[in-house]
């Protein structure tokens, strides 16, 4: 039987650790393996930077510009709103 405490973390496990989701049994390896700790710390730092990326907003009036070109269906199957081909 393989001792999980001796096995290095896989990339998937490193991702789980960076997200705080690594099972406790594998945390034991991390506690004693400097190599995996370095890789994990780098991954966690990158995750944090990516998670902090802002969402940008389009210019004012975006919704109205779209709504002006959308055909809204009616229960009868016809459409309300402008014909996009006209």
């Amino acid at each position: 039987m393989t001792d999980l405490r001796l096995q290095h973390l896989t990339p998937d496990e490193t991702e789980l650790w960076a997200q705080g989701l690594l099972p406790a049994a594998r945390e034991l390896h991390l506690a004693s393996c400097g190599e995996c700790r370095v890789v994990g710390d780098r991954e966690r730092k990158l995750f944090r930077e990516l998670a902090q990326l802002p969402r940008f907003a389009p210019e004012f009036g975006f919704v109205e510009r779209i709504m002006a070109r959308v055909r809204i269906p009616t229960p009868s199957g016809s459409h309300l709103g402008p014909d996009p081909d006209s």
Partner: protein, 186 residues
């Protein structure tokens, strides 16, 4: 909300746009790195989605459907304009340093207009520049995973890629990002 829109409620259409405008625009903006173009592509995506809402299959997540259309629009545009070969490092097909330089994307290329200044401010940070250096396929995967919080399975469905390919792209993209950011820190 989608069911409500399908019944022809204008308010539901507006709500769908409001809900997705920032996520969709942000993805497109980071894909094409041009505000006006990203807005055009986002607009076209919404019009296509909303006008085709009757054909939406609720077996799939609405977010996957709308992001799929947006990503396809970005990739199509990048291919048409050959922008997929533009990166901060130049074309991956370039074989000489001169070719790489000639195809390299310069942030300041678009002049000193207020829009260009805004773009430089918004996309000029180290992490944004590192993302810009990724191949478009890697970029889409990493943005969907880490900015939009999609699962690997959702990304595979959205980008119509095998799950294994998505995992490979994301691992490679992260390695590249760490490399680019490491360069900056050293």
């Amino acid at each position: 909300m989608v069911a409500w829109a399908k019944q022809g409620h204008e308010a539901a259409f507006r709500e769908l746009v409001r809900r997705y405008e920032r996520p969709l625009f942000s993805l497109l903006y980071r894909m094409v790195r041009d505000r006006a173009l990203a807005e055009d592509l986002a607009q076209e995506t919404f019009i296509k989605v909303l006008n085709g809402i009757g054909s939406y299959n609720p077996q799939f997540k609405f977010s996957s459907w709308i992001f799929k259309i947006a990503n396809n629009a970005a990739i199509d545009h990048l291919r048409k304009r050959d922008l997929d070969t533009l990166s901060l490092d130049g074309s991956p097909h370039a074989t000489t340093p001169e070719e790489m330089h000639a195809t390299a994307l310069q942030l300041g290329d678009r002049g000193e207009s207020p829009l260009a200044e805004l773009e430089a401010r918004e996309l000029g940070g180290a992490i944004e520049q590192a993302i810009a250096r990724l191949r478009p396929e890697y970029r889409a995967c990493i943005l969907l995973r880490h900015v939009e919080g999609f699962s690997y399975e959702e990304i595979a469905a959205t980008l119509e890629l095998p799950l294994g390919t998505v995992k490979t792209y994301i691992h490679r993209a992260r390695n590249e990002l760490r490399g680019y950011l490491g360069d900056r820190r050293e």
